[in-house]
């Protein structure tokens, strides 16, 4: 049963890698926040899975509980940011500097 949970954990890591692709390449910043949120949920579950593999869930479940409670603060803060500053400019916010012509 342990090997099954290890396989589940590796599969979750693989899915996390695909989500990370969206979080890194995502065209706008809110796509990145969405990716961060999904990664946070997967982290919560992976923590409990790691505890199950080590047979000491009672030591690990508190961390997962903290994540479940605190995970959405970042999303709310970022949404407030965009309600104040509405510059969701997809141009020039990627992996290169803004060139001279673009605003």
């Amino acid at each position: 049963m342990d090997s099954f949970f290890i396989g589940t954990g590796v599969a979750l890591c693989l899915l996390m890698l695909l989500t990370l692709h969206r979080a890194i390449r995502g065209p706008t910043a809110i796509d990145r926040i969405m990716g961060l949120n999904v990664i946070g949920t997967k982290t919560t579950i992976l923590l409990v899975i790691i505890g199950t593999i080590y047979h000491r869930v009672d030591m690990f479940v508190d961390i997962a509980l903290a994540y479940a409670l605190l995970n959405f603060i970042v999303a709310i803060a970022a949404s407030r940011y965009f309600q104040h500053r509405k510059n969701l400019n997809p141009k020039g916010y990627g992996f290169r500097y803004r060139s001279e012509g673009e605003k």
């Binding site: 899915l15 695909l18 969206r22 809110i30 969405m34 409990v48 969701l88």
Partner: protein
């Protein structure tokens, strides 16, 4: 019991895969948000239920406490994750993200 655990975990993994495919493949922000908000919450319910069942193999106080805590995680994820989805979607709407349409004349504003 083991069969139920494996079944629930696989169901959770399938929903997570659907979420990830939706996040990667959907055309615009709102539909991606739809995939992320729903699939994520439901699949975490499945996987955490599987973990509760697996950890509750014998009844004593410590196992009961752990099971209650994992169920609390489910409750908090069910409260917090849709709120985060709503907040992010609201931010996108406020800052003027255009929804994706099939008509080509509306694609280039």
């Amino acid at each position: 019991m083991t069969a139920v655990v494996i079944l629930l975990t696989l169901a959770g993994l399938i929903f997570f895969s659907a979420t990830t495919i939706g996040i990667l493949r959907f055309p615009d922000f709102y539909s991606r948000m739809h995939a992320a908000g729903k699939g994520d919450t439901l699949s975490s319910l499945f996987m955490l239920l599987a973990l509760v069942l697996y950890n509750f193999h014998e009844i004593n106080l410590g196992n009961l406490l752990v099971a209650m805590k994992i169920l609390l995680i489910v409750v908090f994820i069910f409260m917090a994750s849709p709120t985060a989805t709503h907040a992010i979607t609201d931010a996108g709407y406020e800052s003027g993200v255009k929804p994706w349409t099939k008509k080509p004349e509306e694609e280039s504003p």
